[in-house]
C-alpha cells in the first residue's frame, strides 16, 4: 500500500513539476557517444528474455533450442508480439523501463529507440560488421555508432507475368524508358488491364518510390539537410507519376485486389518484396508457378532498390548483457541464418549464408540476392517515420494529379525541415 501511494504521488507530482525542469544540453545525444564494452569470452549463462515478432518470431524458439544445447547454462525465454502493435509495445516498455534483454525490431525503429538511450551499442569484438549486406548494416547505425545487428533482410523487385511478356515478345527492361515501354507493351500487346501496379501514395508508398529516386542519384538526407526538393528527386517523381497519368498503373486498387488481379492477368507487374513469392504460391497454386518471374530494378544512373527487414537489438537495461550478445551472435551465424530461411523463408542478412540450399539455386531467390548488393535503407534518423509520412503525402498528391512534383516536394521539404532529424 505504501508503495502504491508513493508511486501515485510521484506520478502526479512529476506531471505538475515537468515545467520546472529543463533539458541539460548533453541529454539529447541519445547516448550515441558511449563506446561499446567488450563481451567476456566463454559460454553464455543465465536467463535471456527475448521479444520476437509475429509468426516468424514464433519459429525463433527452435533456433533458441540449438543455442541452449550449445550453452547448457543459458535459458532463453521468448515472448511473441503481434506485428502491427510491436512498435507501440516496445516504445511503451522503454517508457516504463520494462524492456527485455533482446528484441527483434523493424529496421526503421532502431534510430528512434537508440535516441531514447534504450539500446546497447553493438560490441565490435563479437559482431563482425563485414559479414552483413552493407545496406542492412546501415539500418543499425546511428550517428556512426551501431545499435544492433541485422537478422533478416528484404528488398524490392519487379514481379511480372513472364508468360504474357514472352507472348507479346517483350524482354526484361533495363532502363526507365524500357520499363515504360515494357509495361505499356503488356497493355497493348498482351491485353492486361494495367501494365504495372505502383502505390499511388498512402502509408509506406515511399518504399516503392524511393528506389526510383535513388536510381537517379537523389538522397533523402545528407547530414542534417533533407533533399526532397532536389532535381533528381523531382525527376524521379515525375517519372513515377507518368504511370498513373498514362493509365498504366491504377490509382484506386482495393486492398487485396493486387494478387488476384496479377494471377488473373489483369495486372502485368508490380513492385514488392520476397514475401509475395509465398502469397502467390498460396493463392495461385502450383499451376501459377513459372508464369511469373522477378527482375531487378531498372537503371537510370544506378539500379538501386530498397532494403528493409528485421534487426536484433540488446537493451541497455539488460541484466544479462554478455549472454544476450552471445545469443545475438549465434543468431547471425550461417547455420542459424539458413535455418531461419528454411523455417519461415526470411532472407539471411549474412552474405555467406546465401551459398547453401535453395538460396543458391532458386532463380527467383538469386535475383533477390543480386539486388541486395545494390539496395539502400531508410535513413537512420529518429524522426524518419514522420518525415516519411510527408513524403507519402507528396507522392499521393502528384500521383493523383492534384499537384505538380515541384510544389508537392517543396511542401514535403518544408515539413521535413520543420520536423528535423531528431538529433
Amino acid at each position: 500500500m505504501r508503495r502504491f501511494t508513493q508511486a501515485s504521488a510521484v506520478a502526479v507530482v512529476a506531471a505538475l513539476a515537468l515545467t520546472g525542469c529543463g533539458r541539460s544540453s548533453d541529454s539529447t545525444a541519445g547516448g550515441a557517444a558511449s563506446p561499446a564494452k567488450e563481451v567476456k569470452s566463454g559460454k553464455a549463462t543465465g536467463a535471456i528474455t527475448v521479444w520476437a515478432l509475429g509468426a516468424e518470431g514464433d519459429k525463433l524458439g527452435s533456433i533458441a533450442k540449438d543455442f541452449e544445447a550449445a550453452n547448457p547454462a543459458a535459458k532463453v525465454t521468448i515472448t511473441v508480439i503481434p506485428f502491427d502493435a510491436a512498435h507501440d509495445k516496445i516504445a511503451t516498455a522503454i517508457a516504463g523501463k520494462q524492456t527485455p534483454d533482446v528484441a527483434l525490431v523493424g529496421t526503421t525503429w532502431v534510430s528512434e529507440f537508440a535516441g531514447s538511450s534504450a539500446l546497447d551499442a553493438t560490441p565490435t569484438d563479437v559482431i563482425d560488421k563485414a559479414k552483413f549486406y552493407p545496406g542492412a548494416w546501415d539500418t543499425t547505425s546511428v550517428n556512426g555508432t551501431s545499435f544492433g545487428v541485422p537478422w533478416y533482410v528484404e528488398t524490392r523487385l519487379i514481379y511480372y507475368r513472364k508468360d504474357l511478356a514472352d507472348k507479346a515478345g517483350l524482354s526484361e527492361p533495363k532502363t526507365w524508358a524500357e520499363l515504360t515501354s515494357f509495361t505499356k507493351g503488356l497493355q497493348d500487346k498482351a491485353g492486361v488491364k494495367w501494365g504495372i501496379s505502383l502505390q499511388p501514395g498512402g502509408q509506406g508508398s515511399w518504399q516503392t518510390f524511393m528506389p526510383f529516386a535513388w536510381q537517379d542519384g537523389a538522397e533523402i538526407v545528407n547530414g542534417k539537410t533533407f533533399g526532397f526538393d532536389s532535381a533528381p528527386m523531382q525527376k524521379a517523381l515525375d517519372y513515377y507519376s507518368t504511370f498513373f497519368k498514362d493509365k498504366i498503373s491504377p490509382t484506386d486498387l482495393a486492398q487485396g485486389a493486387l494478387e488476384s488481379g496479377f494471377i488473373r492477368g489483369d495486372i502485368g507487374a508490380f513492385v514488392s518484396g520476397p514475401w509475395h513469392m509465398g502469397i502467390l504460391k498460396d493463392q495461385g497454386g502450383a499451376s501459377f508457378q513459372g508464369k511469373y518471374a522477378v527482375m531487378q530494378m531498372p537503371r537510370e544512373k544506378a539500379g538501386t532498390s530498397f532494403i528493409g527487414g528485421g534487426d536484433l537489438v540488446v537493451f541497455k537495461n539488460s541484466k544479462n548483457r554478455d549472454a544476450s550478445w552471445k545469443f545475438v551472435d549465434y543468431l547471425t551465424q550461417v547455420k542459424a541464418q539458413q535455418k531461419l530461411y528454411s523455417l519461415v523463408g526470411s532472407l539471411p542478412a549474412v552474405k555467406s549464408a546465401w551459398t547453401g540450399g535453395a538460396l543458391s539455386t532458386d532463380p527467383l531467390l538469386k535475383t533477390f540476392g543480386s539486388q541486395l548488393q545494390d539496395a539502400k535503407s531508410a535513413p537512420a534518423i529518429a524522426t524518419w517515420e514522420q518525415v516519411a509520412s510527408s513524403l507519402d503525402d507528396a507522392i499521393e498528391r502528384v500521383s493523383l494529379g492534384k499537384q505538380d512534383s515541384a510544389t508537392a516536394l517543396k511542401a514535403a521539404q518544408a515539413k521535413a525541415n520543420a520536423i528535423g532529424t531528431g538529433s
Binding site: 506531471a15 515537468l18 531514447s116 538511450s117 485486389a257 499521393e396
Partner: protein
C-alpha cells in the same frame, strides 16, 4: 397564530435533520470512496500527467528521463492551431459528427420504435441481430466492408450497376470516402443505441397512445408528442454518449483508409495517434486536449437542449 407556528416549528426539528444530513453526507463519502480511490490513481493521475505533458517539449526519446524536458508554455497549442493537417482533421471530424450522430440516432430510434411496436415473434432474434455489429471484431468488419465497397466487383457497385449507376471507388474517392465511413459507423454503432432507446420506450404508457389515437392523432403526431417527450432523457444520454464516441472517431479510418485519400478521412484522434506514434508525445497531448475542449462544449450544448429541467 400562523406566524407563531411557523416560527416555532423548525426549532425542534433542526437537530434530527442536521443529524440526517450528516449521516447522508457520511454515507455519500463512504459510497464514493472506493471508486474515487481507484479513479484518482488510475484515471486522474495519467490525465494530469498528459495534461502537464502538453506544456512541455517531451518526445518519445525523453521517456527514460521525463523530468529533463523543457516547459514550452502554450507553444504546442499554438502549433496545433496552425497545423494544416490538424485543421483538415477538425473539418473531417465535424463533418463526421454532424452527419453521423443524427444518422445513427435516427436509425436507432426507428429500429427501437419498430421493435417496440408490438412485434411478438422473433423478438430475441431481432434484438441479437441488431446488436451483432457491435460485438463483431473491427478487423472482421473491415474485411467485409472492404469487399462490399470494392470498386469493380463489390456488392454495392454491383447493385448500383443493375440500375445503371456507375459507382465510385468508395474508399479511394475524395468525395465518397467520408460518407462511406459514416454509413459504416452508423451500422456498427446503432446496436448500442437501439438497446438504450428500447429501454427508454418502455416508459411510454400504451394507454396514452390509445387515448391519443381515439382523439384522432396520427402515428407521426403520437410519436412527436407522446414518444419523443418521454424519450428525452434517453435521447440525451444517447446523444451525449454517441457524440463523445464520434468526436473520438478513430477505428474506422484506422482500419479502412488510414486517413486517406489526401487526408479526407483523417480524424483528430487518428492524427493525434499518428503524432503519438511519431514520438511527439507532448504535441499529441496538446491535440487531444483541444479535442477535449470541443467535446466539453458539445456536451454542454446537448445538456442545454435536451437536458431535464432539474
Amino acid at each position: 397564530m400562523a406566524t407563531a407556528v411557523a416560527g416555532r416549528a423548525p426549532a425542534p426539528r433542526r437537530r434530527p435533520r442536521a443529524r440526517v444530513r450528516r449521516r447522508e453526507a457520511l454515507a455519500g463519502y463512504a459510497f464514493s470512496l472506493p471508486f474515487l480511490l481507484l479513479f484518482l490513481v488510475f484515471t486522474v493521475g495519467p490525465v494530469l500527467s498528459s495534461f502537464g505533458m502538453s506544456f512541455t517539449d517531451l518526445r518519445s526519446a525523453d521517456v527514460s528521463r521525463p523530468l529533463s524536458v523543457n516547459g514550452v508554455g502554450l507553444a504546442n497549442y499554438t502549433k496545433v492551431l496552425h497545423d494544416e493537417s490538424f485543421r483538415q482533421a477538425v473539418l473531417n471530424t465535424a463533418y463526421f459528427v454532424l452527419v453521423g450522430v443524427p444518422l445513427t440516432m435516427g436509425l436507432a430510434l426507428a429500429v427501437a420504435v419498430g421493435l417496440n411496436s408490438g412485434i411478438t415473434r422473433f423478438k430475441a432474434l431481432f434484438r441479437v441481430g441488431y446488436y451483432l455489429p457491435v460485438v463483431t471484431s473491427i478487423v472482421a468488419v473491415a474485411v467485409v466492408w472492404r469487399f462490399l465497397l470494392e470498386p469493380d466487383s463489390g456488392l454495392v457497385n454491383t447493385v448500383l450497376g443493375y440500375v445503371g449507376v456507375d459507382g465510385p471507388s468508395w474508399l479511394r474517392d475524395e468525395t465518397w470516402a467520408m460518407p462511406s465511413l459514416i454509413v459504416m459507423s452508423a451500422w456498427r454503432n446503432m446496436g448500442t443505441l437501439v438497446i438504450i432507446f428500447l429501454a427508454g420506450l418502455q416508459g411510454v404508457p400504451r394507454e396514452m397512445h390509445e387515448a391519443a389515437a381515439i382523439d384522432g392523432a396520427g402515428a407521426w403526431g403520437r410519436f412527436r408528442h407522446i414518444t419523443v417527450p418521454v424519450m428525452r432523457p434517453a435521447l440525451l444520454f444517447g446523444a451525449v454518449i454517441t457524440s463523445i464516441g464520434y468526436l473520438q472517431f478513430f477505428e474506422e479510418p484506422f482500419v479502412m483508409t488510414r486517413g486517406g485519400p489526401l487526408d479526407k478521412t483523417l480524424s483528430v484522434s487518428l492524427y493525434a495517434y499518428n503524432q503519438f506514434g511519431f514520438g511527439n508525445y507532448s504535441y499529441a497531448a496538446a491535440m487531444a486536449y483541444v479535442l477535449f475542449l470541443a467535446i466539453v462544449v458539445l456536451t454542454l450544448v446537448q445538456f442545454r437542449l435536451l437536458g431535464s429541467r432539474d
